[in-house]
Symmetry: C2
Subunit: 361 residues, 2 copies
């Protein structure tokens, strides 16, 4: 039952492995492009697969509000709805309720909020969040958590974490275990190592298919993130997948993989692609910058992606200046390829035992 | 020299043939997707080719203003710039100066105007319009014409047409004839048959690789368009390609093909794709309409395009409601396929001698 995770090689704390789900295998360390509303913005699912992504993320919060999880279920589930044949991980909605919804009220039972789209009133409980993800057909379901605000006092962080742990137990009880479908718990506790360890212990007692580290993509900085991972990851089961939610830059990802993280999601490659920021081996470029106006070279000369194979920086600059859709399409495609190539490089380096050299380069 | 046109079959006034250019062969009747600023909005060039388009149209006016034709030339020409390997026809800018530019002044020498983008002052003469199209590397260059306003008195239409004919002669003199590159004249004369015939005769005397019918996509209605074609086409050379500029709906195209037109361009399939209008064998649908919210069927069940093969109306409805880029991408893709399948059907029907039945269906 659940999803199966096997580790093929280790290099220090880092691991490379395979997560097997009902819709296929995820090579880890894995980066999940974000398909918030059932689409990775600016890309067809075929293009996402060509970029090398094994799994995408979608959001319970967005899909429950529009088009509604029952509509998705009636249409054959999220995989068919969005025409993505691989695995899908769905976020539970906890983070989005905090960051997007209006007039939210958190109580023991769950959270009540108003939709940011039309102001309608909705409730999300641990049981309902799991039920929605069942209806969507998620391969990996996330427990509902309360995303602790940052900064928070230690008491606030402790109260919030313990509420999330009670919700995690209820999520587990509500989860319908089936082969190829897994449920991940989420470690909370803010920047406090003792709370993080307490949270990890409580989740292990409940028992999950994987363990996420939450609450670390809200502006606390890389040093803090790595510090929390150093305090948290050793407390997590050695043989279960570990997922750092909402992180991050290529440098964040490399550091987190070195600390034993297996899975990531982040809007950076797609959002940057829409705003004109392109990732290269030598850092990022702003394609709108006038210095690219005559540049015949691609975004990244070392990148084999379709955008770099066919188009110059000058052309992308022109497309962004002219507000043509193809600009965001091509730059998003490149950025998603860039991230997937990073993950492939990390997997190879771990397998070869050369992660330190890879990270240094 | 020039481009070569060969007619393979006729059915009444309709013909099917091949236009051979430096960048490949165009099967006629042909529909050219519009790539105004060097991109067919919302589609990669690969997707445009997959849809069955042999040739695309780009605009001199837009490209001279941004990024500038010298930039395009330095970057290897428009084909390389936009990564489209097939033929390109470029409009001369006459129509866009009329419809988009500000404070334009038409004189014998040419037109002076201010850019709609940044208000800068520009001049377009017949010689400069041809020179820009040389720099872009167009396979088919259009002469600069003055697009007669509609409605116009017969005297206004006559004066405007004769100015365009003098510009056509200057365009011909400026055109550098090379194998695979052609220059098309544009018949003007408003809705007046005698002026249209006079214009056609003057163009034939100058001598062009093809003959366009201009000034008919500005709100005059299908009956008027067909009437002008009935008065004009018989005056055009039997063995040269004929291009009806800026037209139109599927029904416009069928009627014009029946009247002997070989080439078309129009923003309808791409613009409709962005605004939510989808073409089907049974008319158009507005994908934003609530009745599509739960519909598991594709936009057109008879369409083999990637959008119809992979996605439901319900999903496209969701994407448009959520303002996701993939909505316009998929619906544009479908509409361009729909138009190209119409053209393929017309070509087959002419070859089979069954155009009347095809048109009736």
């Amino acid at each position: 039952m659940g999803v199966r995770f096997s580790i093929r090689a280790r290099d220090g704390a880092a691991r490379t492995g395979r997560l097997e789900t009902a819709h296929g295998t995820v090579r880890t360390p894995a980066f999940m492009p974000v398909g918030t509303a059932g689409t990775v913005k600016g890309m067809t699912p075929e293009a996402v697969a060509v970029a090398g992504a094994d799994i995408v993320l979608a959001n319970t919060y967005h899909l429950m509000l529009r088009p509604g999880e029952e509509t998705v279920e009636k249409l054959g589930g999220l995989h068919r709805f969005m025409n993505w044949k691989g695995p899908i991980l769905t976020d539970s909605g906890g983070y989005q309720v905090m960051s997007l919804a209006e007039r939210r009220t958190v109580a023991e039972d769950g959270v009540v909020f108003r939709s940011h789209i039309d102001g309608t009133r909705h409730a999300l409980t641990p049981e309902r969040a799991v039920g929605i993800q069942h209806n969507l057909g998620s391969d990996v379901t996330m427990v509902l958590d309360e995303c602790t605000t940052f900064p928070a006092t230690v008491d606030e962080a402790a109260d919030s974490m313990r509420l999330s742990m009670r919700w995690a137990a209820r999520s587990k009880a509500a989860f319908r275990d089936r082969p190829g479908h897994g449920l991940f718990g989420i470690v909370q506790g803010g920047v406090h190592g003792d709370l993080r360890r307490e949270s990890a212990g409580m989740l292990i007692d409940i028992g999950f298919d994987g363990y996420a580290v939450g609450g670390l993509a809200i502006g606390e900085g890389q040093e803090t993130t790595f510090g929390v991972l150093d305090e948290t990851v050793p407390s997590l089961p050695a043989d279960a997948p570990r997922y750092l939610m909402g992180v991050g830059t290529p440098s964040d990802i490399v550091g987190a993989v070195q600390r034993g993280i297996d899975m990531f999601d982040c809007v950076i490659p797609t959002r940057s692609g829409r705003t004109g920021r392109g990732y290269t081996g030598a850092g990022t470029i702003n394609i709108r910058n006038a210095r690219h106006a005559d540049d015949p070279s691609p975004v990244d000369a070392d990148c084999p992606c379709p955008a770099c194979a066919g188009y110059s920086r000058a052309y992308l600059h022109h497309l962004f200046r002219a507000k043509e859709m193809l600009g965001p399409i091509l730059l998003t495609t490149h950025n998603v390829h860039h991230y997937q190539r990073l993950m492939a490089g990390l997997r190879e380096a771990i397998e070869a035992g050369t992660l330190a050299e890879f990270a240094a380069s």
